[in-house]
């Protein structure tokens, strides 16, 4: 366990950020069960120390790029939780205006460079971001976070090689939560010590306790320094654990309840709060403040997301292409029966709009659990008791 070093302000900030992410994720799960969010939902409950420890030592100009489990990463980078929640709701005020969803959160202003749904897809992009900074002579370091499962993707080896070969300012961080979806690390990786997995490419690695926010800070700070000052990429394997399933559609048949309980004992938030109290840096009053503030922020985020409008249909084709001054509708959407309108049309043609409207009518649905893509057709399972009770009440 890393020595206790931070002052009261830093400690408070670390705790508050972790508590906010925890509360946000709990609420996201709840809203998912209430059918306010669709698709797949991957929660990072249990992984807060790895996230916050990392971002807390990054500079504003540094890039962060992650996976499909990154609501917390954006929030840790400073993205307003309201906008993240609105994205889960698919609304116009979401981080991507409702066209990315839970797996594709993005905040250019805070250099949170996404949210990617393809396992390992973010690795080469991270190398490219690092190349851009290096090419322009900037100080920025790219922090690339990915899961243990991604260490088996071809991109992993390719990117490690390129990063070492080109001496890119990049830090790789494996959030090793021990499972690639439902396959345990012993069953998915021949080399279970992931910190060694990039050594052959010239990238040294080491393992840390990802449940200890201070250990993460210390290690990431050194990784950033190596990348920034010495142009030496390195890899950190942070042991962490997600208490919830891979996604909300996960029956969790692959692990024992005892294992989850065991990790809960190492809870990153509880343990850090205890240490703050013991060190006399924070008191019970501050802890309560942290909880209250998280509650307030998250409820406000839900309220904001609920109130945010659905994306207007005439934005269906927006931002597909960057249009030049005299270019118009690059999409060349030739859907029948609209006669060709030319590629220079700035607006959505009438027939395309009518098609979109007819399709969008199918989006209307009753409240209640949304059919999960993984279990659609099965009896509804996994509804949280609290939500189930609400649903019963509503039905009465």
């Amino acid at each position: 366990m890393a020595d206790f070093a931070p002052d009261a302000t830093t400690s408070y900030e670390l705790l508050a950020r972790m508590a906010l992410i925890r509360r946000f994720e709990e609420e996201a799960g709840r809203q998912y069960q209430r059918a306010k969010a669709g698709g797949f939902l991957h929660l990072a409950i249990g992984e807060e120390a790895t996230i916050v420890g990392t971002t807390s030592v990054m500079r504003d100009e540094d890039y962060l790029i992650g996976t499909y489990r990154t609501h917390g990463h954006a929030i840790a980078r400073g993205t307003d939780p309201k906008r993240v929640m609105a994205e889960l709701f698919g609304r116009v005020d979401g981080t991507s205006g409702g066209r990315g969803g839970s797996m594709h959160i993005f905040d250019a202003e805070r250099r949170f460079m996404g949210g990617y749904g393809i396992v390992g897809g973010n690795l080469p992009i991270a190398a490219g971001l690092a190349l851009s900074a290096d090419f322009k002579g900037e100080d920025a370091v790219t922090v690339c976070m990915f899961g243990d499962g991604a260490s088996n993707a071809g991109n992993f080896g390719e990117t490690m090689n390129l990063a070492a070969l080109w001496s890119l300012p990049i830090l790789f961080l494996v959030e090793n939560n021990l499972y690639g979806m439902g396959t345990s690390i012993e069953r998915h990786s021949a080399q279970t010590d992931l910190s060694k997995k990039a050594e052959g490419y010239g990238i040294p690695g080491h393992r840390i306790d990802g449940m200890d926010v201070l250990a993460v800070r210390e290690s990431v700070a050194e990784g950033l320094r190596l990348a920034r000052e010495e142009r030496r990429p390195s890899l950190i394997e942070a042991f962490t654990y997600r208490y919830r399933g891979h996604s909300a559609a996960d029956p969790e048949v692959y692990r024992e309840r005892d294992e989850v309980e065991e990790w809960r004992q190492k809870d990153p938030i509880e343990s850090f709060a205890r240490r703050c109290i013991e060190a006399g840096v924070l008191g019970e009053r501050e802890l309560q403040q942290v909880r209250d503030k998280a509650e307030e922020t998250v409820l406000a985020a839900v309220e904001f997301a609920e109130a945010s409008a659905e994306p207007p249909l005439d934005t269906l084709y927006e931002n597909l292409y960057v249009l030049g001054e005299d270019e118009g509708w690059y999409a060349v959407d030739e859907r029948s029966p609209e006669p060709h309108r030319g590629e220079h049309e700035g607006n959505m043609p009438d027939a395309a709009r009518e098609l979109a409207e007819a399709g969008a009518a199918y989006a209307a649905q009753d409240d209640g659990p949304r059919p999960n893509p993984a279990t659609h057709g099965d009896a509804q399972e996994g509804t949280e008791p609290e939500v189930a009770a609400e649903a019963e009440e509503a039905a009465d």
């Binding site: 890039y63 981080t95 991507s96 205006g97 066209r99 990315g100 594709h104 993005f106 905040d107 250019a108 460079m113 996404g114 949210g115 990617y116 749904g117 393809i118 897809g121 690795l123 080469p124 992009i125 991270a126 190398a127 490219g128 971001l129 690092a130 190349l131 851009s132 900074a133 090419f135 322009k136 071809g154 991109n155 390719e158 990117t159 090689n161 390129l162 070969l165 080109w166 927006e318 931002n319 597909l320 292409y321 960057v322 030049g324 270019e327 690059y330 999409a331 060349v332 030739e334 029948s336 029966p337 006669p339 060709h340 030319g342 590629e343």
Partner: protein
């Protein structure tokens, strides 16, 4: 005007854009020291150095992905893939990432990247180095697709592609690298995407051909005129997305017949797509079904005899045009 080979014209386009814009860099397998597998990047390393002309490992998905990230970070990478077949190893980064990122992040990120790749048969490179994947990339919203057939177009389109803020798939034809043509001089010869070239005027039948097949189409038109008294109008779309459908439809309204020539496979091909568009939008003007001339529906064979049998030639185009004209001449 200067007479240049296609490979020189493409090289000049990159060199001029690199001089004009410090953010442009070239990367790919053997593009620097080796000067390019097809010598398209010859001389670039000498002029611009290793920082801007970068040899990469043989890691297609990561080369393109690094291009995506570099573009998101403000650079203008020109990525070379050694053949279109190798681009299949990079489809994840091209389709799931380059094409999707501007849209899925709602315009917060741009991907101003060009991915250049040569395709097509004719050099006995067999089933893993000779294919034509225009249709595959044409299908993906978010990408622009260029397929130049002349050195002048190659240069002007590549310059436009490098300046464009969208990801561009730039398909070259291996057999055209040595083809010579007049190329206008000057930095500002940039060709707007979505402007077809009418290579030959005619009133009897419209022939649309891309890449090497633009030349095959022109050759067929000459034969049609000389041997059959048929005046064909020959159109080279030059870019498939955006597509200058207006020019093609205008021609079909005049000739009432259309033949589409490509080297790619028939199913779901460029011709299949274009035939549908013409049928949907100019049905009343058609006097005959739209004809397609495509490569044979097989992986490209190695044997010179079989390979030539699998590639369309002007005779095929003449035959298709005459079929469209049957009964009227």
């Amino acid at each position: 005007m200067a007479e240049l080979r296609m490979r020189e014209a493409l090289r000049d386009a990159m060199a001029e854009e690199m001089r004009r814009d410090e953010a442009v860099l070239v990367m790919g397998e053997d593009v620097a020291v080796f000067q390019g597998a097809f010598k398209v990047t010859e001389g670039l390393l000498d002029e611009f150095g290793e920082r801007r002309v970068r040899d990469t490992p043989i890691s297609e998905n990561t080369i393109v992905g690094a291009g995506v990230g570099a573009a998101m970070g403000g650079l203008r990478p020109v990525v070379e893939l050694m053949t279109v077949n190798f681009s299949l190893l990079a489809l994840d980064q091209i389709v799931n990432h380059a094409a999707a990122i501007p849209y899925m992040f709602n315009g917060q990120a741009r991907v101003p990247m060009v991915v250049r790749m040569p395709g097509g048969g004719g050099h006995q490179l067999g089933p893993t180095h000779s294919h034509s994947f225009e249709a595959l990339f044409l299908q993906v919203p978010g990408l622009l697709v260029a397929c130049p057939s002349t050195p002048a177009d190659g240069k002007a389109l590549l310059k436009a592609a490098i300046r464009d803020d969208n990801p561009v798939i730039f398909i070259e034809h291996e057999s055209l690298y040595g083809a010579r043509g007049e190329v206008p001089e000057g930095d500002d010869e940039v060709l707007r995407f979505g402007e077809a070239a009418v290579r030959r005027q005619g009133s009897d039948v419209t022939i649309v051909g891309i890449l090497k097949m633009a030349h095959t189409a022109a050759e067929a038109a000459q034969t049609l005129a000389d041997a059959h008294g048929v005046e064909a109008e020959v159109i080279d779309p030059r870019t498939l997305r955006p597509l200058d459908l207006d020019t093609i439809l205008e021609s079909v309204r005049k000739t009432n017949r259309a033949v589409i020539v490509e080297e790619g496979w028939p199913h779901g091909g460029v011709g299949a797509n274009l035939a549908t568009l013409i049928t949907e939008q100019a049905f009343d003007h058609l006097d005959a079904p739209v004809q397609r001339v495509t490569g044979a529906d097989v992986p490209m064979p190695y044997s010179r005899r079989l390979e030539q049998a699998a590639i369309p030639h002007s005779e095929h185009v003449v035959k298709a045009a005459l079929a469209a004209l049957e009964g009227s001449i």
